[in-house]
């Protein structure tokens, strides 16, 4: 598989693969482990061809035991390796939560700073593929609650290409959430496209009237909503958070000072979600800039349904985002 030429657009998953290949090439300590990542080429084809290129030691198929192989990854990281652990989806990470929260996230603290755990854990996340209640979670926000973890959500092809390298360079755990619905994103990347920062949010569209804050799989529809709002004379600014923990609140606050109104779009369930955290921070730190309450568009508080129309109705939609933005600018006639 050849690297992308200058002018050809590549897909989100191709970008992830390129990132993996580059990481494996550059650092011997890096290896990939997870279910079906080797012989099968990855459940979504992301690691296709890598086993042939790098061999069994570097591309390791694991048993069906998230707790086991995440723990092994932590051990490998402690031992000086740079493991990339792929958990098939965030839904299965629940089986490894003790490893992630009680070990990966806490060893640095519990050891008084002696032991870093330079592990990168990648997971698919999100709803939209009719995989029903147990396989459609968006738990990035939940994970962003835990000190000791860095949580990032690449929402663009460039970020899919560039975040892995920066995550690997971090001596502490980084969790990368790759939303399944972004698989169809395509973009042209420059030939020297490389590592990107994982500290800053990005303003994907600038605007004056209201700030739409989102991340991951919700970015494309938030952009669509911004275009719809433009035709109504509402100029929306779109922020892609990129890093969920720590949050780049400087970018958020800057935007609020310009637009004075905000809507947070979060595929997680509303209660106790990341959007609640963002709304709390905005009103704590920039209350006097607000011309309207911070509104949130989140998933309905139900386990995600299987039938397509119900699934679509249960996660944030473009219409809901537009309606919330209208309310924020007091034009909800």
């Amino acid at each position: 598989m050849s690297p992308p030429t200058e002018s050809k657009p590549i897909g989100y998953r191709d970008a992830l693969r390129e990132a993996l290949r580059e990481a494996l090439q550059k650092d011997e300590r890096v290896f990939l482990m997870g279910e079906d990542v080797g012989a099968y080429g990855g459940p979504y084809g992301i690691s296709r061809g890598l086993l042939e290129e790098f061999g069994e030691q570097r591309i390791r198929d694991t048993p069906l035991s998230e707790s086991g192989f995440v723990g092994a990854g932590i051990g490998a990281a402690l031992g000086g390796m740079r493991p990339i652990v792929e958990i098939m989806t965030v839904n299965f990470s629940l089986l490894a939560l003790d490893q992630i929260v009680n070990h990966a996230a806490t060893l640095l603290h519990m050891s008084g700073g002696q032991f870093n755990v330079p592990i990168v854990i990648r997971m698919a996340t999100g709803a939209g593929l009719q995989l029903a209640a147990q396989h459609s979670h968006s738990l990035e926000g939940w994970m962003a609650h835990i000190p000791g973890l860095r949580i990032v959500a690449p929402a663009t092809v460039a970020d899919a290409r560039g975040m892995l390298a920066t995550a690997l360079a971090d001596p502490d755990p980084v969790l990368i959430f790759e939303h399944s619905a972004l698989a169809k994103e395509k973009a042209v990347l420059p030939p020297d496209a490389g590592a990107v920062d994982i500290d800053r949010a990005a303003i994907r569209r600038s605007g004056r009237d209201v700030t739409l804050i989102t991340y991951g799989g919700m970015l494309p529809r938030t952009r669509t909503a911004a275009e719809a709002l433009e035709s109504e004379g509402i100029d929306a600014e779109v922020i892609d958070l990129r890093t969920l923990r720590p949050l780049d609140q400087e970018t958020i606050f800057d935007s609020i000072c310009r637009t004075h109104r905000a809507v947070v779009i979060d595929e997680g369930w509303r209660s106790g979600s990341l959007s609640a955290e963002i709304a709390a921070r905005i009103q704590e730190e920039r209350f006097f800039e607000l011309d309207a309450p911070v509104l949130r568009v989140c998933s309905q508080e139900v386990p995600i349904p299987y039938p397509k129309v119900l699934e679509e109705a249960s996660i944030p939609s473009v219409e809901q985002i537009v309606a919330a933005a209208r309310r924020a600018v007091h034009r909800d006639v």
Partner: protein, 438 residues
């Protein structure tokens, strides 16, 4: 200089016995070095140093039992220089317990102070910390309040910056809240108190302050505000509409009579009569004179009549004639000339805007027959007067014409109903037919 204290080496350890020192005064030790052997009732445990430095003195001897937290040695921290009494012999027997002058130590001794380890390769990810309170602690100075005024934080700040009184501004936001769009531009009323850049907080204060508004931007802004208010009015207030025809000839004749002997500059115009008539009728029908707030009607004791004045650039202002029911016609006329004159010249004072309990709109000069106004929330009624026109009068078999004008009422059905509204209009009509009593 610091003290090495007996650490708690087990969950319930309260005391320990020194079995052996591994160091002596003058020795350089490093974080993690074992420095003593202790007997903790459960096991013999080697004790590690939590600091680096040079041992200055050992404070207990092998065989001594001391409580957890008690000092067992003195250490000169790394980089602090040589201990001052390095010559103290190791055989020195210091007090096993703190001297009486020292206060007794803590009841639940903690582990000895743990100096942070040499920092790891990279600091932990920066966690969120609440920013310095100073930046946002400045609260916008509170507006004088009549009851609780709902306004967004931004609106409050802007009003404070522009020296505007929130109680005189009508809100177009949810639940009647005053929002940014309701706050007039700095230049549309008297100059605002200059905003102190230090108190408005955030480095964006200068970015947020509006530039000196041009006439065009002011006018556009006014339009936006009017549009917002009118939209909200139509959305929230269930309007009902009534109309009546007023025989205006008595009023016209009376005015002509009264004005005949006067200079043109002293004349009374019909508008003054309209204001007075509406004000007196409003006193008689309190359900049309007041405000709808927080889900209920609050009638007003006083009658303050707002009058819609059109501006030459096409916008509107609604100056208020306070206590219009109590002023003489001459007073009303003088106020009318003064206020309308200044309104048209853009020189109204902010306190003259808003606070009306009922409003009049009149397009009489422009020739339309009638006008049905849109209520200005939180008021509950607006009276419209059309232009004078000739109507057919039939008496017996005689046909003639008489001047009439159409008076209309747009009212909030939550506060009044058609029957009361109709009587209100009749009251106005009847008063205008008896102008000498106004």
């Amino acid at each position: 200089m610091s003290e090495i204290r007996l650490p708690s080496l087990g969950a319930e350890m309260e005391e320990g016995t020194l079995l052996e020192w591994y160091v002596q005064p003058g020795d350089e030790i490093h974080y993690g070095d074992t420095i003593a052997l202790l007997d903790t009732e459960k096991a013999e445990i080697e004790m590690e140093a939590f600091e680096s430095g040079t041992i200055e003195a050992l404070l207990i001897e092998p065989g001594q039992t001391i409580a957890v937290g008690e000092p067992i040695a003195r250490l000169v921290s790394a980089g602090a220089g040589a201990p001052t009494d390095a010559s103290a012999p190791t055989a020195e027997r210091p007090e096993p317990r703190p001297a009486p002058s020292e206060p007794p130590e803590r009841p639940r001794p903690e582990a000895t102070e743990v100096t942070p380890a040499p920092s790891p390769a990279r600091e932990a990810p920066k966690e969120w910390r609440p920013e310095a309170a100073a930046r946002d602690a400045e609260v916008a100075p509170p507006a004088p309040q009549v009851g609780r005024i709902k306004a967004t934080p931004l609106a409050r700040r802007l009003a404070a910056e522009r020296g505007l009184d929130l109680s005189r501004i009508s809100g177009s936001g949810p639940h009647g809240a005053i929002v940014e769009a309701d706050i007039p531009e700095a230049g549309s009323s008297e100059p605002a108190a200059p905003a102190d850049a230090g108190t408005t907080g955030a480095s964006t204060a200068s970015a947020a302050r509006p530039e000196a508004p041009t006439d065009a931007s002011r006018s556009e802004r006014r339009r936006e505000i009017i549009a917002a208010a009118m939209t909200r009015s139509k959305r929230e207030i269930p309007h009902y509409y009534l109309a009546t025809t007023v025989e205006i000839e008595p009023a016209i004749d009376w005015l002509a009579d009264r004005n005949r002997e006067r200079a043109a500059s002293e004349r009374l115009v019909l508008a003054a009569l309209l204001i007075k008539a509406v004000a007196l009728a409003a006193r008689e029908f309190p359900e049309l004179n007041g405000h709808w707030r927080d889900g209920s009607f609050h009638p007003s004791e006083a009658v303050h009549v707002g009058m819609v004045v059109s501006l030459r650039d096409g916008g509107l202002v609604v100056p208020t004639f306070a206590d219009a029911d109590q002023r003489t016609l001459e007073d009303t006329m003088a106020a009318l000339r003064d206020v309308v004159g200044r309104a048209r010249a853009g020189r109204l004072r902010s306190r003259e805007l808003g606070d009306a309990t009922i409003t009049i709109t009149s397009l009489g000069d422009d020739g339309v027959e009638s006008i049905f106004g849109v209520i200005y929330p939180p008021q509950v009624a607006i009276v419209g007067f059309g232009g004078i026109h000739q109507a057919l009068r039939v008496e017996g078999r005689l046909h003639g014409t008489q001047p009439v004008l159409r008076a209309t009422l747009s009212a909030d059905h939550r506060a009044s109903d058609g029957q009361r509204g109709s009587r209100f209009l009749q009251s106005i009509s009847q008063r205008l037919r008896n102008p000498e009593q106004l």
